[in-house]
Amino acid sequence: MKRGLVFAFGAAAQIFCRLCAAGPADYVYTPAVEYGEREIDFKAGRANTHDADQQSAASIGFGYGATPHWFTEFYSKYESTGAGGTHFDAWEWENKFQLTETGQYPVDVGLVVEVERPQDHDEGYEVRFGPLFQTEFGKVQLNGNLLFGRQYRAAVSAPMQFGYQWQVKYLWTERLEFGIQGFGDVGPWNDWAPADQQSHRFGPAVFGKLPVGVHKAIRYNAALLLKASTGAPNNTFRIQLEYEF
């Protein structure tokens, strides 16, 4: 009985941590869909946590703009924690829906829905979804996203978690844009965790698109995220590279 309780507690803590903390390789979603575009997408990140351990994550995926308002992408995700080495972590299917035409209204709106199947099947399926917002003021672009995550068919149930992402970007040149990005996780969506257990991070970011041929380009963005609350890693470096064709 006692062993069972310990197992249940450990599983619940693992699930809570998985849901409540945005991974080091996470990126800021944008609501626009590029119809007909195909992309190979590589993401990686490393977070230095409180106890000097490092958590690394990476993913590689293939995406396609299937319709003018739907972009779908399939990922293979990997992670590395401490001395555990790098291992396959999960499959992920991400779907982004553009709900308004870019620039038609003061705020562009989209929706992201992603389903993740962790390698550890006790974690069930993770579903993450939320609205995506974007607006522009001259050469300044603002993004803000609200994300809700919950696991289904997991060994131990956990309440739906809530997080957010934001970025401010100065559209300097096509090849180099710069700004600030932020990520946060507050715990259960309807009963936020105490402030010292929430994770809030933000820091400088760079973005750009490098044309490499007719209708071919490499798009990049990277950020160094610094701890803004006690529940966050000390610092996180994240990068995303996309080959678009």
């Binding site: 007909g36 703009g65 620039g103 003061p106 917002f133 957010y164 096509e174 507050v186």
Partner: protein, 105 residues
Amino acid sequence: MRLFLIAMLLVPTVSAAADTEFRLSIHEHRFEPAELRVPAGKRIRLTIVNQDAAAEEFESYELHREKLIPGNSSGTVYIGPLEPGRYPFFGDFHPKTTTGVIIAE
């Protein structure tokens, strides 16, 4: 944070300003007209009619827009309000011939 959340969910997405409409054609991998004059300070609804059989992508970094227009079909791009100036655009599939500029004045 809760106030931020509520504000984000209540962000008005209904625009009050009326759109000024313009039309652009793609014919034999060229924009017609190649130079389009639009009023500054107004939002523009630009209808792009692709008369070619091949798809083309309207692209402009200056306008922050990318839009695929399949062959023998049309698409709409919303731009502006623009400051007075020149805003070049091109077709990403045929960038040498499919070029143009929007002049806001």
